[in-house]
């Protein structure tokens, strides 16, 4: 094929565009909000004592997930404090996650932190880690399989327990008929949350599936649900961004449904404060990363194992309007 001449921008056009863009930037300052308004929260930890350790953290996180970002921040904070070199990697596919654990074993790390969302995929590779005498700590999901697969400790939230807490809370704020918004179909943890909530809620609760990667679809699905059944007075979302969208749907339909959610982010705090979202069930992801690194450090430097062979729960912590103020600066920093 003959390349087309003259399809690119001409120099004069490019020049004009540059000048216009510069003028726009200089002339269009915002008087409110933005980076200038953001308070810089300085946080630093002194490097810790003990020999330099190398720890690998392998999760099943998809790219760009707020939750895992916070887990990673917790792990990094502990790593800085404990003089640990942290190697983070992630893949949502069970087989590929196992390969990442294998590369960590090949690198002869001093400890492995792993999530067990797909326990069967991780079985063989964790046996290899045990054989290579590398201590393994599991976090997040997989509390039931953790010990069986050779992990020393498990830090996480029992999704059923968390669901039960959410159901109770939903009942407490006066909801009688609720819908549980599931943003990822076939995710066992999310199903457990809804099932747990249903158990303690008392009233009827239905699941609603939405496509989590497409916010307009999330909104229109929730709106459709509220339009179908005007008796719905409670909405439970399983991730913070979806709670904000549920609030939009409630406003749009004129429904009086109250919204509660799992997980936390910085926009959520403002919604908790102004009462548009009633409560958040936080599983404190920061703790999962932080404690896992600390545990490996303690094991190496003092031979400690926490938990007494049982999973250590990092949640659920219920956050309402009352404690939103205390947590706000931490959420702003992206660690809550």
């Amino acid at each position: 094929m003959k390349p087309m001449k003259g399809a690119g921008p001409r120099p004069a056009v490019a020049m004009t565009a540059t000048i216009m863009a510069t003028a726009l930037v200089l002339g269009g300052c915002s008087g409110s909000g933005g980076k200038k308004a953001e308070e810089e929260a300085a946080s630093g930890a002194a490097p810790g004592a003990g020999p330099r350790l190398k720890v690998a953290m392998v999760t099943h996180s998809g790219p760009g997930d707020t939750f895992w970002d916070i887990v990673q921040k917790g792990a990094r904070a502990a790593a800085t404090k404990d003089n640990v070199e942290l190697l983070y990697s992630a893949d949502p596919d069970g087989g590929k996650q196992a390969q990442l654990v294998q590369t960590a074993i090949d690198q002869k790390v001093d400890g492995i932190i792993v999530t067990l969302a797909k326990p069967d995929a991780m079985r063989d590779v964790l046996a290899k880690a045990t054989a290579a005498k590398i201590p393994v700590v599991s976090i997040n999901s997989g509390a039931a399989e953790s010990a069986r697969l050779g992990a020393l400790v498990h830090f996480g939230q029992d999704e059923t327990v968390a669901g039960e807490a959410a159901g109770e809370q939903l009942k407490k704020i006066g909801a009688t008929k609720a819908v549980c918004v599931v943003h990822e179909q076939g995710n066992v943890g999310l199903e457990d949350r809804c099932a747990g909530a249903k158990k303690t809620f008392g009233g009827p609760m239905e699941n609603l599936f939405v496509q989590g990667t497409n916010m307009p679809q999330v909104k229109s699905s929730i709106t459709a649900k509220l339009q179908t059944d005007s008796g719905i007075d409670g909405i439970l979302t399983l991730g913070a961004p979806f709670a904000a969208t549920a609030v939009d749907s409630v406003k749009e339909t004129g429904s009086d449904a109250k919204v509660g959610t799992f997980d936390m982010n910085k926009e959520l705090i403002a919604s908790l404060r102004d009462g548009s979202i009633q409560f958040a069930v936080d599983q404190q992801p920061y703790l999962q990363g932080y404690l896992a690194v600390d545990e490996l450090w303690l094991l190496k430097n003092n031979g400690n194992v926490v938990g007494g062979g049982r999973p250590v729960l990092t949640g659920p912590a219920i956050v309402t309007k009352d404690d939103a103020g205390t947590i706000a600066p931490f959420a702003d920093r992206g660690t809550r």
């Binding site: 094929m1 390349p3 087309m4 399809a7 690119g8 921008p9 565009a17 863009a21 726009l24 930037v25 269009g28 300052c29 915002s30 008087g31 409110s32 909000g33 933005g34 980076k35 200038k36 308004a37 953001e38 998809g62 790219p63 760009g64 997930d65 707020t66 970002d69 599931v182 179909q185 239905e206 699941n207 609603l208 599936f209 990667t213 497409n214 916010m215 307009p216 679809q217 909104k219 229109s220 699905s221 709106t223 459709a224 649900k225 339009q227 179908t228 059944d229 961004p241 904000a244 969208t245 939009d248 749009e252 339909t253 982010n265 910085k266 926009e267 992206g334």
Partner: protein, 349 residues
């Protein structure tokens, strides 16, 4: 019209044969989809009580418009014989650029909107030029840009904000005005209709006009149907294709602006997978995967079918575990109706 007249006309020149208006309608690419939409509409009206309310219809239209705006430009590109797999994440890129630029530099959000337009159009130009200069299939070229954009969305957002979502720009100058343009709720006879529905109809009208009433439209059909012959008769194939890629980029920018101003902050991982829904809308609406055939109105009907099905299942209160199964079955139903109609209409074309 008598049979004898028809016969003699056909004998003179079959291409000049006169066809009844109904046959002519049945020969249009979007007719099958229209019938499929009507079947689904009737179906959901019967099985879902809440479906026929005006407010529900506006929800369906909103869902359809968010797919439909992208499906219009994607359909034009497909008629021109190409795919754009980066369309889904480019929406997120557009929204992130506007959000990050406005927030980090504390600028009026309109500045972010304009810079985002320049950046997204640049990405469309890049897609087009890469395709034209390398001669690789657009499937491969845009697969590359798709993955790069998905990575850059996350990487840049993390680098700039320290988090994986953009900061909320709700309280910044110009937000309300921009929201009024890209995401306003309008009151139409007591029913709230999102402004995206109007934009969608406008884009469909413009695209239809380009396709059917301008020389560029003829060029698009020619590029997709027979690129070699098109080039031989002097159609600027490369320029048309670059333009089509930039058309997709333009609607991606628009959709990104809607995403940003409707939800005020953007998750950097959003948008992956949507490119297939855009293509699906275009195909349900009668576009051929091989190019050279299709229509913008068809893509709009395809998006309407998609929006109607995805929300109709909710209105019908079917078991949510089976949601995707029902969605797939309904889409198959619509497409089969489309296919049957087209087969019947084919001899008349």
């Amino acid at each position: 019209m008598s049979q004898a007249v028809l016969k003699s006309a056909a004998a003179a020149d079959e291409r000049l044969a006169r066809r009844s208006p109904l046959r002519r309608l049945a020969g249009r690419p979007e007719f099958g989809a229209l019938l499929g939409a009507a079947v689904l509409f009737a179906f959901f009206s019967v099985v879902a009580d809440a479906f026929l309310r005006a407010s529900s219809f506006s929800t369906v239209l909103y869902a359809a418009s968010t797919f439909g705006i992208m499906a219009v430009s994607v359909a034009l590109l497909m008629i021109g014989g190409e795919f754009d797999l980066s369309a889904g994440v480019m929406v997120t890129t557009g929204a992130l650029v506007a959000a990050l630029v406005s927030y980090q530099l504390t600028l009026n959000v309109w500045v972010g909107v304009v810079i985002s337009l320049v950046v997204t159009l640049g990405l469309g130009l890049l897609n087009g030029l890469l395709y034209v200069r390398t001669g690789l299939p657009s499937f491969i070229v845009t697969l590359g840009t798709f993955l790069m954009l998905a990575g850059a969305n996350l990487g840049v957002t993390k680098l700039v904000t320290g988090n994986v979502a953009s900061d909320s720009i709700r309280d910044m100058d110009g937000f309300d005005a921009a929201r009024a343009v890209f995401a306003a709720d309008l009151d139409v006879g007591g029913v709230r209709v999102n402004v995206t529905v109007l934009w969608w109809l406008l884009f469909v009208a413009v695209a239809t006009w380009i396709l059917l009433r301008t020389r560029t439209g003829n060029w698009i059909f020619a590029c997709g149907g027979a690129p070699g012959s098109a080039r031989a008769v002097g159609v600027p194939v490369a320029r048309v294709k670059v333009g089509l890629f930039m058309g997709v980029a333009f609607t991606a920018w628009f959709s990104g602006m809607h995403l940003l101003f409707a939800y005020s902050s953007v998750q950097s991982g959003e948008g992956v997978g949507n490119e297939f829904y855009y293509i699906i809308c275009a195909v349900i609406g009668g576009c051929l995967l091989t190019g050279g055939y299709g229509s913008a109105i068809g893509a709009a009907i395809g998006a309407f079918i998609f929006g109607m099905t995805s929300k109709g299942i909710v209105y019908a209160e079917w078991n949510p575990d089976w949601f995707k199964f029902f969605l797939g079955a309904m889409l198959l139903l619509a497409t089969v109706v489309n296919l049957v109609v087209r087969r019947r209409a084919e001899p008349s074309r």
